[in-house]
């Protein structure tokens, strides 16, 4: 595999972003009763952030130049 340095750094940055998104204190912000489009707030937030991470990783991987 082409060990492109910039791709590795992008993925590492996504990893760090995920560490922040999935941890205290950010999840505490959403850890309360309430709903967005009929879906509980925390549930919506976690899956949204999760999907965002996967999207970013796909972008980093598939758009790299080999």
């Amino acid at each position: 595999m082409n060990r492109s340095i910039i791709t590795g750094q992008r993925l590492a940055a996504i990893f760090l972003l995920g560490c922040v998104l999935f941890n205290y204190p950010l999840i505490a912000l959403f850890n309360k009763p309430g709903e967005i489009v009929d879906i509980p707030l925390l549930y919506f937030y976690l899956f949204g952030a999760w999907a965002l991470l996967i999207g970013l990783m796909a972008l980093a991987i598939e758009r790299r130049k080999e």
């Binding site: 999935f22 509980p40 707030l41 925390l42 999907a51 991470l53 990783m57 991987i61 598939e62 790299r64």
Partner: protein, 922 residues
């Protein structure tokens, strides 16, 4: 319709399909057309991570902790972001060393230590067996529940059934047979099972589709979408609580520790290592898997909470175990086909996990536990056996059967003590103990064998004390007293509140203490001494793998003597003589030899043999076996350090060398061009010599001929005498002119010519030249046009030399013009900072090719060897030299048939002149 025989036959049909896929995959692999050489298949096969623990257990965990089931899947998603660095490195190392299991990896890193490999194997087996029993339990339970359709009956306690009526026993036996068929069909030097991977990828697809099917059915079939389910949940306080996590430090702490735990598990569970590293076909596949695998995880988790909420709304009294909601919800809604599909999905989750996990464990048990013992056991006389490959295969088969049997025994014994998810996390915590030794091993050269052993032992011991023993106690095997009172009644030793640490859940608690002990011992013991020779060399090969893979760096650390006729039979004993010969022959061909006999038993070959053997029996045993037939001279630690220093120096030198060789190439090219030029000049000189001698000979011949006539015939009349003497004089003049020109050229060229520079009027020069050549024009009856601009400034030049140039150009024009019809025009003009003179004729013109050469010395238009040359070939070169001496330019414009125009310019100031003087002096 869901009678026992239907369920059983559908299950067997499914297993048959799996086997068909595996068989097809193996056939294709043998034919060299791999079906799994595809990043999507690789990502799907990685989803072996999702076992029945995900399939049934996630809903169960969601029913008690709400969103708390998610960290198990968020961790791998995060870890995938680091795979680019970490996993790629592990894959590269494993391919370079033919590593076949996680035990092999750790033991290879720390000096190919057999004891370390054994320790890792024991931890893996102890940690994973409960996990396997969990799969048996899930399949057996789901089978019993489905069997009772349409009733919803929870299975009785496992141990309650008589042994022979226990479906789990039969499931274990079938799975064992199936795994043996899959995993040990033949002994592969790389331990890759392409067919199995294809089947696992298929299973991942089946379990995902089954789970999505039941999720969609529950969410949109039973209820009216997500909104409906969550609205109903809002009304039940118990369900409402599931939508948030308890807002306390401890719950965030355990959230984090579960995420961390699953990050390590996705790397170091033996089945994940097997699929991600050992079975990896091409490391490029990893890139796609980095996002495709998390995508799989998010898909299989979307419906977990809706199913859990839906189940709890459906069975509010708690009579139905939440772990079974996935199956019982379709059943209670009378969806027979869906229920059967869900059962198959659960079966695929279980079989996938059991197959890969037992294959991985059996490889470890065989290579790192059994073989080292057998090979040391002299009484077995194994060293006299010619072919041991059957032994390896049968050890693996027995190991598979034994592991599944252990799983079954644990299942019978542990019974219902724990919910599914509990057992899974205990296994996760066990394999997390490998993390310090592996991460340390691939990024830190200082780790030593004793350090790794100490860390693993300490971590494993703490894990056993804080997680495994309490789980035994809860199963009723041990007295619960030591949990409540602490060991020997010492409160500080309570296994779940060690040293009084309270407020954490049991997993986080155990993870903290075991990691502390593990990392602490690993680092502290490693730092007690410098790594020894083997540890240093292996450490370098692992840590700097991206630098060493391309070169022959691997054999640098070996010195000794060996014989091909010793190595070949040794490899043959484990791989089979035929395969060993093939491998050696391929090696010989790669090194430019045609037969095995020609091979030199050097360090490279010894390494090749050891790596080959490592693929079959593990790195540690391979080292011992190879050492038994070769004579190795041990390297001192200083020598190893020297080699490493040398290596970096060699790299620097090779960079310099490349630089030098590039420079050399450039110089060579220049030299070659110069040489070509010289050869050309030499050839031109030869041509010139022949031209000149020819020219010299012609007048000489006539001079001699007429002189002889005059000498031998005194009676020649006066008229003839005069005529002959006139010819002799004319020919002599011609000779003189020729010789003068050659000398002139030589003088100009060598810079010895005399120049009488003065201000001169070009007008005068031209008129004088025209006057001097007017007789030539008259002879051929040519017309001459003069267009001389008035008031042209004077230039600094040598008057005689300029006349020489003009005479040359004019006589050339005359020479090439046809008699009577010829026309020559002379123009003088001033423009900018130069004066310009043109001499135009209407002769035959000069082809483009000739235009380039006529200014070169000794060149004449036309073939000098056949046609009689029209001059010496020096006129134009001399003219150009003269003009350039005064800073001007002489050139020709012409096209064939259109005549030619020779032009020159002379600068008005003297700058060009001085510049030229400087240049000629060089």
């Amino acid at each position: 319709m869901l009678q026992g025989w239907v369920i059983a036959s559908v299950s067997f049909a499914y297993l048959g399909v799996l086997f068909g896929i595996a068989y097809f995959g193996d056939k294709r692999a043998d034919a060299g057309r791999s079906v799994i050489a595809n990043p999507t298949i690789y990502a799907l096969s990685l989803a072996v991570y999702c076992t029945t623990w995900t399939f049934y257990g996630s809903v169960g965990r969601a029913a008690t902790t709400g969103i708390g089931f998610l960290p198990i899947y968020l961790g791998p998603t995060l870890m995938a972001g680091l795979w680019w660095y970490v996993m790629l490195k592990i894959i590269r190392i494993s391919k370079a060393n033919r590593i076949t299991s996680i035990a092999d990896f750790i033991s290879s890193r720390y000096g190919k230590s057999q004891s370390l490999g054994g320790l890792v194997t024991i931890i893996a087996v102890v940690g994973i067996v409960p996990y396997i029993s969990l799969q048996l339990k899930a399949v057996s339970n789901s089978f019993i529940i489905l069997l009772n359709y349409p009733g919803i009956v929870m299975p009785a306690k496992a141990g309650a059934q008589p042994l022979l009526q226990d479906s789990a026993l039969y499931i274990a036996m079938i799975l064992a047979a199936f795994t043996i068929l899959f995993g040990t069909r033949h002994l592969d030097a790389t331990e890759r099972h392409e067919g199995m991977v294809a089947a696992i990828a298929f299973e991942s697809l089946v379990k995902l589709l089954a789970f999505l099917a039941v999720g969609i059915f529950v969410t949109f079939g039973i209820y009216n979408g997500f909104g409906d389910i969550f609205d109903r949940a809002e009304l039940v306080p118990k369900l409402k609580a599931l939508m948030t996590v308890a807002d306390s430090g401890a719950s965030y702490g355990s959230w984090w520790s579960l995420t961390f735990l699953s990050m390590l598990s996705i790397m170091f569970l033996p089945r994940q290592f097997q699929i991600a590293v050992v079975e990896n076909v091409n490391e490029r596949h990893l890139a796609r898997a980095i996002w495709l695998f998390p995508l799989y995880l998010i898909l299989i988790n979307i419906f977990v909470l809706p199913i859990a909420v839906g189940g709890m709304l459906h069975f509010p009294d708690g009579s139905v175990d939440a772990d079974t909601f996935v199956l019982t919800l379709p059943m209670v809604e009378r969806q027979e086909a869906l229920a059967l599909f869900v059962f198959i999905g659960g079966l695929s989750a279980a079989t996938g996990m059991v197959i890969v996990e037992t294959i991985a464990l059996s490889t470890m048990v065989c290579n790192d536990l059994v073989m080292p013992v057998l090979l040391r056991w002299k009484a077995l006389r194994l060293h006299e056996e010619q072919d041991l490959s059957w032994l390896l295969l049968s050890i693996r088969r027995w190991a598979i059967a034994a592991i599944l049997l252990l799983g079954y025994i644990y299942f019978r014994a542990a019974g219902e003590a724990y919910a599914l998810v509990g057992i899974g996390l205990i296994s996760f915590a066990a394999v997390a103990q490998f993390a310090p030794a592996i991460f340390g091993g691939i990024y830190w050269k200082g780790g030593t064998r004793q350090g790794a052993i100490a860390g693993l032992t300490a971590g494993f011991a703490v894990w056993t004390y804080t997680l495994l023993l309490p789980s035994f106690a809860k199963s009723g095997w041990l007295s619960l007293d030591f949990i409540k009172e602490g060991l020997f009644g010492v409160t500080l030793l309570k296994p779940q509140q060690l040293f009084g640490l309270a407020g954490l859940d049991e997993i986080s608690h155990s993870l903290f203490w075991s990691m502390l002990a593990n990392i602490g011992c690993y680092v502290a013991v490693s730092l007690r001494r410098r790594p020894d020779v083997v540890e240093t060399s292996q450490g370098t090969l692992f840590v700097d793998v991206f630098r060493h893979t391309e070169g022959a760096g691997r054999s640098r650390f070996w010195r000794g003597s060996a014989q091909v006729q010793d190595l070949l039979p040794l490899i043959g004993r484990f791989l089979g003589p035929e395969r060993a010969r093939e491998a050696f022959l391929a090696y010989a061909r790669r090194h430019g030899q045609t037969s095995i006999e020609q091979l030199q038993a050097n360090a490279d070959l010894v390494h090749f043999a050891e790596t080959l053997l490592a693929g079959a029996i593990g790195g540690a045993s391979a080292r011992v076996m190879v050492a038994s037939v070769v004579k190795e001279e041990p390297l001192g630690i200083d020598e190893v350090m020297n080699i490493l220093d040398e290596a970096s120096q060699v790299r620097a030198y090779s960079r310099q060398l490349e630089q030098k060789s590039r420079e050399l190439e450039a110089a060579t090219a220049e030299l070659r061009a110069a040489n070509e030029r010289l050869k050309e000049l030499d050839r031109m000189k030869d041509d010139f010599m022949s031209t000149v001698t020819h020219e010299l000979r012609t007048p000489l011949t006539s001079i001699r001929a007429f002189s002889e006539i005059l000498l031998e015939d005194p009676k020649t009349n006066l008229a003839n005498r005069k005529k002959f003497l006139a010819i002799i004089v004319k020919e002599t003049e011609r000779l003189t002119r020729l010789i003068n020109q050659v000398l002139d050229m030589a003088k100009i060229e060598s810079g010895n010519a005399e120049w009488h520079t003065a201000e001169i009027d070009l007008h005068e020069v031209i008129e004088e030249s025209v006057a001097a050549t007017s007789s030539l024009f008259g002879d051929k009856r040519l017309s001459l046009d003069m267009a001389l601009e008035g008031g042209v400034p004077k230039v600094m030049a040598d008057r005689d030399r300029l006349i020489q140039v003009m005479l040359n150009l004019l006589s050339n024009a005359v020479k090439f013009c046809e008699a009577d019809r010829g026309r020559v025009a002379v123009k003088l003009s001033a423009g900018g900072d130069a004066v310009r003179v043109d001499v135009e004729d209407n002769g035959p013109g000069i082809s483009e090719q000739d235009q380039r050469t006529i200014f070169e010395k000794f060149r004449q238009v036309g073939d000098t060897m056949t046609a009689k040359p029209q001059g010496t070939g020096l006129g134009l070169p001399i003219s150009r030299q003269i003009i350039e001496h005064f800073g001007g330019r002489l050139w020709v414009e012409s096209s064939p048939g259109q005549g030619a125009t020779f032009s020159f310019t002379l600068p008005l100031n003297r700058e060009g002149d001085t510049r030229h003087e400087e240049r000629t002096e060089k």
